[in-house]
Symmetry: C2
Subunit: 226 residues, 2 copies
């Protein structure tokens, strides 16, 4: 298909992005309890902390130095250039803001099996699929910028104990994601040249929306338990 | 075993390092024909160009951000911070100096099956083994610094059409390797704490010496063919 049809097909998956998940809707509406926010933050930690490993798997499978060079920044973004820096640390700060001890986040005691399975499926996808499909799975970034902007505003408005600095993960990520969404799309459009590659890229993005959606399903259920 | 016994056991594998391989001995003695040098450079290219992927596999398997941060430099070292930079490019320069076209290196037409098998085994090891064993397999660096210093001197003395600038891969690598050898050993000693982990680290280094040795066996045979 033409580049524009291909891009339209990818963008057409936006309705499956977790922005519309009931749990996120309640979050934005200020309806989550402190307990639910804690369970959410502690579970999503599992996702945040494997992202560098997922990105390294993509680099490991990619024979093109120019793509490897471009992708390397993501590992640095998450892990930070030095200790105490990076996206992972910013997520830990948010965890603390919602009332979690650092220790209970790091030891993953709150991580629900369903979250673990979904996140592991994502890392496994990146390890075992061709690099182009793994890159395409990351195109959920295309849908993330707008949602994060709303999230920062809604969380500041609705959860008064959370300060703007605690949301550094999101405020920092907003710029990054708008940039990355474009760069990632460029890579996918440039390298998915056959119909089959394009369809695999669309399937990869669809798979990733399932990963994120399943995470929130499992988080919602885990948070409702107590 | 104690740290010092462990380090001694690792260093004790130095006699299996490819420094003493007959092909290397002939190289240092100035006895290789131009054809042999070409086949050597074109084959070793296959090794050089998968190193970033091998290092990314280690990062992908490592759950410790501090190790991932430290290991990331290796990918940058080989791939370069931008196009036309890095260890891979310096190896291509050496290939050109011994009379190969860039194209016949890049398309890997001279790569012998035995070299491919050995190198693939190395990458596969890094992808499938625990990160600590994969890191330990890189400890051949401990044996490399001295050999490279000798190589630069011997090649300049014995192959007059090779200039010092053409040997940038080695001159650049000498400093890097002395540093890395120490850093890598520190990681391995710090994280291999059980007897079993220590033995697996020793086995990993032994495996790596086999990889390198087999590469030279296959190169020697391929170069003798014509």
């Amino acid at each position: 298909m033409s580049s524009s049809d291909f891009i339209a097909a990818l963008r057409g998956l936006s309705h499956r992005y977790w922005g519309t998940h009931p749990f996120h809707q309640r979050m934005h509406g200020g309806e989550l309890s402190e307990h639910e926010l804690k369970i959410w933050a502690a579970n999503r930690w599992y996702y945040q902390c494997v992202l560098p490993q997922k990105d390294a798997a993509i680099i490991s499978n990619c024979p093109l130095p120019e793509i490897r060079r471009e992708w390397l920044d993501r590992i640095v973004y998450h892990d930070g250039a030095q200790a105490g820096d990076g996206g992972i640390e910013r997520w830990l700060r948010l965890c603390t803001a919602v009332g979690l001890d650092r220790e209970e986040v790091l030891d993953q005691r709150h991580v629900a099996p369903g979250v673990r399975f979904a996140v592991d499926a994502y890392v496994n996808f990146a390890r075992t699929k061709p690099w182009l499909e793994a890159v395409a799975s990351g195109l959920t970034e295309m849908f993330a910028g707008h949602l994060m902007q709303r999230r920062v505003a809604d969380m500041l408005a609705n959860y008064p104990w959370i300060a703007r600095e605690d949301l550094a993960y999101f405020t920092n990520r907003i710029d990054k994601v708008s940039g990355e969404g474009k760069g990632t799309l460029d890579i996918v459009v440039r390298h998915a040249v056959t119909r089959e590659q394009q369809e695999k890229a669309i399937a990869a993005l669809s798979f990733k929306t399932d990963v994120l959606w399943s995470m929130l399903d499992a988080i919602e259920r885990a948070a409702a338990k107590e």
